[in-house]
Subunit: 228 residues, 2 copies
DNA sequence: CTACTTTTGTAATCCATTTTACAGAATTTC
DNA sequence: GAAATTCTGTAAAATGGATTACAAAAGTAG
């Protein structure tokens, strides 16, 4: 965790790459879209034609196996780009993107993006960097899955979420997404039951507090100890 | 496994992107290097300055945790590019690249590559595509780790290796890399002991045959069944 | 060819996590 | 605001795989 805080989030708002005029010309290819909570933006198996920008709300990217088991690869916050980033690949998607809250998604045909990218090496570079980052993130997740137990993984997840989706309130810092235990379980790669147990043990030890599905940070030090 | 055989391997030989003249001018920035079996090309923590092309031999890319446990992310064959592909990122490496055989590596400063990429959107595109592919591959590995048991994972690994590193001999198809059980274990995310047991059960059931560390395919159908 | 090192086979024990199975709480819907 | 649904807490039983612990085999070096 070299790049703390919002480093990776803020750095990669790809739309920033475009100038004011370009943004105007982009309007024709960009289409805004409202997606209701729990609705999919795309599912595994869909053809892979668009790129998306999350303007408002929260979206999760998940892999779901035949039996319905789900693993959530990443939670996105506004400003982030998604939609299998390996450009110009016509194979169907292997992930699903699902809105966790009512969200506004802005979408663009891959081909159109490609046109812009040709004249804007900067754009390709940014995308490259972003993908490199995602690659690393996901490699870390594998390492966690293999070498850490559930309490450690959960502590790590919470710390990550406190960094990536923080919200300072009068009652302390909280993760600014309402997550069910099932969603959390999908993020750490454990069962809902196990997640419940560990989460409650964290509560009892005074590491966190949960109020109407918002998780508040109480004792970062101790959480970090468990994260190892 | 949509893209069978050598699809992803052959498609992405980045050096192909360059014309004959360019290759000549590239000679100044490309440096050949011989690496002995078991020697690292780079280790986690190293500054991240070069890109590499594997010309001859085999290289594995691994994550190794503090206690020395290793997980091998990918095995590379000649023609493949490696070295954290998120260009222009100066953070230190998180993976290690280690030669599995005596290998010839061709290396290039990131900055130099960058210079070429600016005038060659095609190059960035290819790299993008490659990274997208690696991203997917690694996401599949996560899914496997979470949802499949060791026999299934091992069967899948073998099938993958028979596709990616095949060698037809008079005694049948074999995986053309000598892998110890430990290496295999690192690839499936299991212990050496477990890997030994399962590998032997595969032998006993007549799915594979092992001769001086080369694994030969006998019964693909049955292997696929176990892979589920 | 012999000694040394690395790799392999196997099996008993242990343990973290899943599975199964409910009951109670909280939310959403009508 | 009652009924239906979806979430949460907990705990006993089952289990897949890690750990531990050696001995045997294979490979390598002197």
């Amino acid at each position: 965790m070299k790049h703390t805080k919002l480093w990776y989030l803020k750095k990669f708002n790809l739309l920033e790459t475009f100038s004011a005029e370009e943004m105007i010309s982009l309007k024709d290819v960009l289409i805004d879209n409202v997606v209701k909570k729990k609705q999919p933006i795309y599912l595994a198996g869909d053809p892979d034609e668009n790129l998306y920008f999350l303007k408002e709300g929260r979206v999760k990217i998940s892999r779901i196996d035949e039996s319905g088991k789900e693993f959530t690869i990443i939670l996105l916050e506004p400003g982030e780009i998604f939609g299998e980033l390996g450009l110009f690949d016509d194979s169907p998607r292997e992930t699903a993107a699902i809105a966790l809250e009512d969200s506004i998604i802005c979408m663009m045909k891959r081909r159109d993006f490609e046109k812009y990218a040709i004249n804007k090496p900067e754009l390709s570079f940014k995308l490259n960097k972003l993908m490199g980052l995602r690659l690393r993130q996901i490699e870390s997740r594998i390492e966690e899955l293999l070498f850490r137990d559930v309490p450690s993984r959960l502590a790590r997840l919470l710390l990550r979420l406190f960094e990536q989706h923080p919200r300072e309130t009068t009652n302390g810092t909280r993760i600014n997404i309402k997550l069910s235990q099932q969603e959390i379980a999908n993020l750490v790669g454990a069962t809902r039951e196990m997640t419940s147990m560990v989460l409650n043990s964290f509560k009892r030890s005074g590491l966190i507090r949960i109020e109407s599905k918002y998780i508040y940070l109480i004792d970062r030090k101790e959480l970090e100890k468990i994260a190892r």
